[in-house]
């Protein structure tokens, strides 16, 4: 990796790290299930950006584009199932609060 591309990667890296940190904070700080899922989305978006940045720096744009598109599809499927589960929880407890689902003790 040359010095120039390292600098570029660091610039990207700071932004990606901030986005990921916001996502993790969002997951940890809230009791609302939908907001927690939004936090997950932010985290996954940060990772998507990381893949794009890596593709740009290593000049493997075609490969990373294919990866990113595959990843977006997977992410949509996972989120659909997750929202389905949240709706199921809501139909049982009539709320979206994570404190209402504490039957199982981990």
């Amino acid at each position: 990796m040359s010095a120039e591309s390292l600098q570029l990667f660091c610039t990207f890296g700071i932004f990606i790290f901030m986005l990921a940190a916001i996502g993790v904070y969002c997951m940890l700080a809230t009791y609302n299930l939908i907001r927690a899922l939004i936090g997950v989305e932010l985290l996954l978006k940060a990772v998507t950006l990381l893949i794009v940045a890596v593709g740009y720096i290593t000049k493997h744009n075609a490969l990373t584009q294919a990866m990113v598109i595959t990843f977006i599809v997977i992410e949509v499927v996972v989120m659909t199932v997750a929202i389905g589960v949240v709706l199921g929880i809501r139909s049982h407890t009539n709320s979206l609060d994570a404190r209402d689902i504490r039957n199982l003790k981990g």
Binding site: A36, V40, V47, V54, H60, V78, I101, G106
Partner: protein, 461 residues
């Protein structure tokens, strides 16, 4: 020919959901049984079926084939028990479709040769298993599924970040290319970080000790056939096989990594076994025992020697067999008593003899008593630890084996031995759909255990 292992289940989903649903509803379950038997046959006796189009980049060595065999056997018993436990035809049809997606994903994980496809197939299997866990839409199942989704999403993010950072030096995602690139620059801090988060992600997927929060919930809240599948193969294929594959084919073994694996393995063995001692729910005890047994697999892998890896894969196989059998027993007890609380059971062996005997044999195999199959794999792992100089860990493994025996004996004493309670006097043996699979699995345990000394030379590793 390996492409068929992935494409055929996926094509089956499409074929089953085309028109003629009415007819397909009836044949779906038999079709699934036939498919799992076909997979057992194809793994044991490979046939070179030429694939005219769509050449996928797949490969299978002896480790992948052992895992493919586990998947097929556990799938077979899952389908048999589902046929018995899921009464509605529509529900059963949906269940079979989800199983096919799961099967395609797991076969994919075992066969891929690049790290991004590994991620894709892990995610396919995981999505199918979230749906399977919340199959009956009850509250606990949704809670368990949500926990699993959140932790899995973290794992996905970590795994992909790892892949991206590894790509930064290798420029490619193939196992071989990454291995070559790692040889050139093995110890840059970025790569160490990338490998660390990738392996942590696999630990989450496999439910190892610091990351195990979702596992007991998911196993105990899932419907009975799904618990069999999850405990037997899903988490083992996603997390543990993934880890073995990455370690063997990509990263290779070096000092700190071996120490980390050994430590995590020993921690899982001890804490999992101690946590299992304190459980009163049948399935939760089995789930914690599963964490403990997975620790043995990881500790065997951590030696980094061929003997240790052989022991790890053999224990993975044995674990799939005996843990599926025990979950079938728990399903049998639950279907008759309507509860999983072990304090409300006693002396069931006199009323449910088949379930009692199969569970005793499975427990003893898990605790490592000769000549059952579990004894040989534990022996190989402990010998591998001793030979490669990790004697402290060998002693830990032996000691934890005693705890394993303790909690399984406590399970047996509370559920099957002793005097039967008044209110369960007219309990009958569970139906053929739950006893037959348990008998098959027990036969495999005894057969492998007795035949292993003779097979030892035949297995080329």
């Amino acid at each position: 020919m390996y492409s068929w292992f992935i494409l055929f289940p996926l094509l089956s989903v499409i074929i089953l959901n085309l028109p003629f649903r009415g007819m397909m509803n009836k044949i779906a379950i038999w079709y699934a049984l036939a498919l799992s038997i076909a997979q057992v046959y194809l793994v044991l006796f490979p046939v070179n079926i030429v694939m005219p189009f769509l050449q996928l980049n797949l490969n299978a060595d002896i480790i992948s084939r052992a895992v493919l065999l586990c998947i097929a056997i556990v799938l077979f018993v899952t389908i048999l028990s589902a046929k018995y436990l899921i009464k509605k035809e529509d529900k059963l049809f949906n269940f079979v479709n989800l199983l096919f997606i799961c099967l395609a994903g797991m076969n994919g994980v075992t066969l891929v040769t690049d790290i991004f496809s590994l991620y894709v197939f892990i995610e396919i299997t995981a999505v199918a298993s979230y749906t399977l866990i919340s199959f009956y839409k009850d509250k606990d199942a949704f809670e368990a599924a949500f926990k699993y989704i959140m932790l899995s999403a973290m794992a996905s993010a970590m795994m992909l970040a790892g892949i991206a950072l590894i790509m930064l030096i290798s420029g490619d995602t193939g196992f071989f290319a990454i291995r070559e690139a790692l040889k050139v620059s093995p110890h840059s801090s970025l790569i160490v970080f990338a490998i660390a988060i990738f392996i942590c992600a696999l630990f989450i997927k496999g439910g190892l000790m610091p990351f195990h929060g979702w596992l007991p919930d998911a196993y105990s809240a899932a419907p009975a056939p799904v618990s069999v599948l999850l405990a037997g193969v899903v988490t083992k294929t996603l997390g543990i096989y993934g880890l073995i594959r990455i370690m063997v084919s990509v990263i290779g073994f070096d000092g700190p990594l071996k120490q980390a694996l050994l430590f995590i393995g020993a921690l899982s063995i001890v804490v999992g076994a101690l946590a299992a001692l304190g459980q009163s729910d049948f399935k939760r005890m089995l789930a914690y025992s599963s964490i403990s047994q997975v620790g043995y697999i990881i500790i065997g892998l951590g030696t980094g020697t061929a003997l240790g890896i052989f022991g790890a894969v053999f224990h993975l196989f044995n674990h799939a067999i005996f843990k599926s059998s025990l979950f079938l027993n728990s399903a049998a007890v639950e279907s008759r008593l309507g509860t999983r609380d072990m304090d409300k059971m006693n002396g069931l062996a006199s009323k449910m003899p088949v379930t009692g005997i199969t569970s005793v044999i499975s427990c003893l195999s898990a605790a490592g008593l000769p000549p059952l199959a579990g004894f040989w794999s534990k022996l190989i792992i402990i010998v591998a630890l001793w030979v490669s100089g990790y004697r402290v860990y060998a002693v830990v493994a032996i000691m934890a084996s005693v705890i394993t025996l303790a909690y399984f004996l406590s399970l047996q004493r509370r559920v099957f031995f002793g005097r039967i309670k008044e209110d369960s006097m007219n309990i009958k043996e569970a139906g053929i759909g739950l006893t037959l699979p348990a008998v098959i699995l027990t036969a495999i345990i005894i057969g492998v255990g007795i035949a292993f000394p003779f097979l030892r030379d035949a297995i080329k590793f």
